[in-house]
């Protein structure tokens, strides 16, 4: 009953994560903590007897953040699963085709644009300028999708996309865009410090407004990927074999790449570049449930969600009130754990899946 177990763990994790964190005010003295009973009552809709501040903190601050973390974790877990199947390589991750560099450039563009917008205001033009919180996700998402389109079209020769070619052009484009971002960081210094923090990833800006955008995209994409479960399995046996078994390989590859880019792009747009989740989660789940995507896709989505909910909880509590960027913790905790798994579990048997 692996999948059901993961669903239960996710729900329990969300409840527990909502109990952590201070409720301010920040400053000298011990931060006030909310009683666990209060969090539980508010989450189950019986919070009437607790102070309004409590339910505001839980429902407007903690919960959106936790749910965004879960959605992003799910998106990255599934995007990683797709990439590993497309490249038949367990070292592939959602950023392998340079999507993160494209997104970072989009973020850099946002900051540059904001500078110009501020200048406009300085010159006395009076209209409401687009705020960074809207512009940033929009431009990073655009940046990541444009990168994928570029890489895909470079690798497309005579209507066919060679997987090795795709990988190599991804590496090259990624290095090129990455160098541009680094150059911007270098010349702009202070101004771009926020870009640096964005690149390390986090859920500090989460709101219900974001979840209304991210939620449907992640859910629809997940459902679509499940429809591709047999195609993903066939891809693991090689493109030639997949074709012999009746798959329209080029078309399916394009579709899967698009879904994966959408999932990754939307994650990067709202949570920055969170590394390692898309690499280790599918790999870990393959060790646990096996390579069949009927189980691997939901398992990777759920495990990614659980992982990021916990990582974010650690990120915002361990050094409170300072937040540690989520990307640092994913790599710090994921790296050693991944090595441990690689060394210890040469998969001896599979969990029984119901």
């Amino acid at each position: 009953m692996g999948i059901l177990t993961l669903i239960i763990v996710l729900v329990v994790s969300i409840f527990i994560a909502a109990m952590f964190g201070s409720i301010g005010p920040f400053g000298p003295g011990k931060p006030e903590r909310m009683p666990i009973q209060a969090v539980f009552d508010i989450l189950t809709g019986r919070g009437g007897s607790w102070p309004d501040l409590y339910s505001t903190v839980v429902l407007e601050v903690r919960l959106p953040r936790i749910i965004l973390a879960a959605l992003v974790g799910c998106a990255l877990g599934i995007a990683g699963t797709i990439m590993q199947a497309l490249f038949r390589n367990p070292m592939a991750d959602p950023y392998i085709l340079g999507l993160s560099s494209g997104a970072a450039l989009g973020a850099a563009a946002t900051l540059a644009l904001r500078a110009t917008l501020v200048t406009f205001v300085f010159l006395g033009i009076t209209f409401v300028v687009t705020s960074t919180s809207v512009l940033l996700p929009f431009l990073t998402f655009t940046g990541s999708l444009l990168t994928i389109l570029l890489v895909y079209n470079i690798a497309r020769i005579g209507g066919k996309v060679n997987t090795d070619m795709l990988l190599l052009s991804g590496v090259a484009v990624s290095a090129f865009l990455g160098s541009m971002v680094m150059f911007l960081l270098f010349i702009a210094g202070h101004q771009f410090q926020s870009l640096f923090f964005w690149m390390l990833g986090g859920f500090g800006q989460a709101s219900w407004g974001q979840i209304i955008i991210v939620g449907p995209i992640v859910i629809v994409c997940t459902a679509l990927v499940l429809l591709f479960r047999r195609d993903l399995n066939l891809l693991l046996t090689g493109e030639e074999t997949a074709k012999h078994l009746g798959m329209s390989v080029e078309r399916v590859k394009g579709q899967l790449l698009f879904i994966s880019s959408l999932l990754t792009g939307i994650s990067v747009a709202f949570a920055g570049i969170i590394g390692f989740v898309g690499l280790i989660i599918p790999h870990m789940m393959r060790l646990v449930v096996g390579p069949d995507h009927k189980y691997l896709v939901p398992a990777s989505g759920l495990a990614g969600a659980i992982f990021l909910v916990w990582v974010d909880t650690v990120a915002r509590t361990i050094m409170a009130p300072t937040e540690i960027p989520v990307g640092i913790i994913t790599a710090m905790s994921g790296g050693p754990f991944f090595l441990y798994l690689l060394r210890s579990s040469r998969r001896s048997g599979r969990w029984m899946i119901g």
């Binding site: 038949r88 429809l227 591709f228 047999r230 399995n233 066939l234 693991l236 046996t237 090689g238 030639e240 074999t241 074709k243 012999h244 078994l245 009746g246 798959m247 329209s248 393959r286 096996g290 390579p291 069949d292 998969r347």
Partner: protein
């Protein structure tokens, strides 16, 4: 054992194919009749595998026509083609820990709607395919832990799960020892007779080909040099011309052809 289904022929007319400027197939014509077992022989680089890949619709060619069961392989959709033709490649990558049953069920891809799960019939077809190939007892084993012969039988079982009318095989016994070669060839012959499958297969071994096939196509430099029954094709002059080796032809006690290979000779043709 599955019942004999309707049978299909293979018709190849004026097929030419080139990788860039290097011509691999030149004006190839031949017919495989429904239910026939035809072997393709020829030296390395004579175009055998390319021919097979053109017949299965895996390669796009601009000259000639290939019809399988009356369908043009270039204009028929991949799903329909997979229900008509199954291909067993020389070696299959089995890097991921799928069970034998999972691999065989992949053969049902072209029969299952994207929105549905494998149903009772899919499992039944896969079971019959595994029983026929002697892989039913391996069904819960991981394919990564199989021997070469077992793996090849699993791949054949997957091909059977496609419920094809035509079976194409590319040197299916190359990596096997002699016992497993006989086993796999015997299995193909059995499937050919019992299911009425039309079989077109590339081989290396002259003796085994002569023993199992109804007819043989001998290829050289992208052309079909000779075709006919094994005794008609496997003659000393033909073998010397194609491979550049001396050969002595005899008969086994069962009346099958037996080729004994001698010294190298100069290849006489251009």
């Amino acid at each position: 054992m599955a019942e004999k289904g309707p049978q299909a022929s293979i018709k190849v007319e004026g097929l030419s194919f080139a990788y860039g400027k290097r011509t691999v197939l030149r004006e190839v014509d031949f017919v495989v009749r429904p239910g026939e077992f035809v072997g393709i022989l020829g030296p390395n680089g004579s175009g055998k595998t390319t021919l097979l890949n053109c017949v299965c619709g895996g390669l796009y060619f601009s000259h000639g026509k290939v019809r399988v069961g009356g369908k043009d392989v270039l204009t028929t959709g991949s799903l329909e083609l997979a229900r008509l033709i199954a291909m067993v490649p020389q070696e299959s990558t089995m890097a991921f820990e799928f069970t034998v049953e999972e691999i065989v069920l992949m053969g049902r891809y072209s029969h299952i709607d994207r929105f549905k799960f494998e149903d009772h019939r899919d499992y039944e077809v896969a079971k019959v395919a595994m029983e026929e190939t002697g892989t039913w007892k391996l069904r819960n084993r991981f394919v990564t832990n199989l021997s070469g012969g077992e793996r090849q039988r699993v791949v054949i079982a997957r091909a059977l799960a496609q419920e094809p009318k035509v079976l194409l095989l590319d040197e299916p016994t190359t990596h096997l020892d002699i016992r497993h070669q006989l086993e796999v060839l015997g299995l193909i012959r059995k499937l050919n007779e019992a299911r009425g499958l039309t079989v077109l297969a590339v081989f290396h071994d002259l003796n085994l080909t002569g023993r199992f096939c109804d007819r043989v196509l001998l290829m050289d430099e992208g052309r079909i040099m000779a075709s006919g029954t094994p005794p008609e094709v496997l003659t000393a002059p033909n073998i010397e011309r194609a491979y550049g080796v001396e050969a002595r032809i005899g008969r086994t006690a069962q009346g099958k052809i037996s080729v004994e290979v001698g010294e190298l000779t100069e290849r006489s043709h251009s």
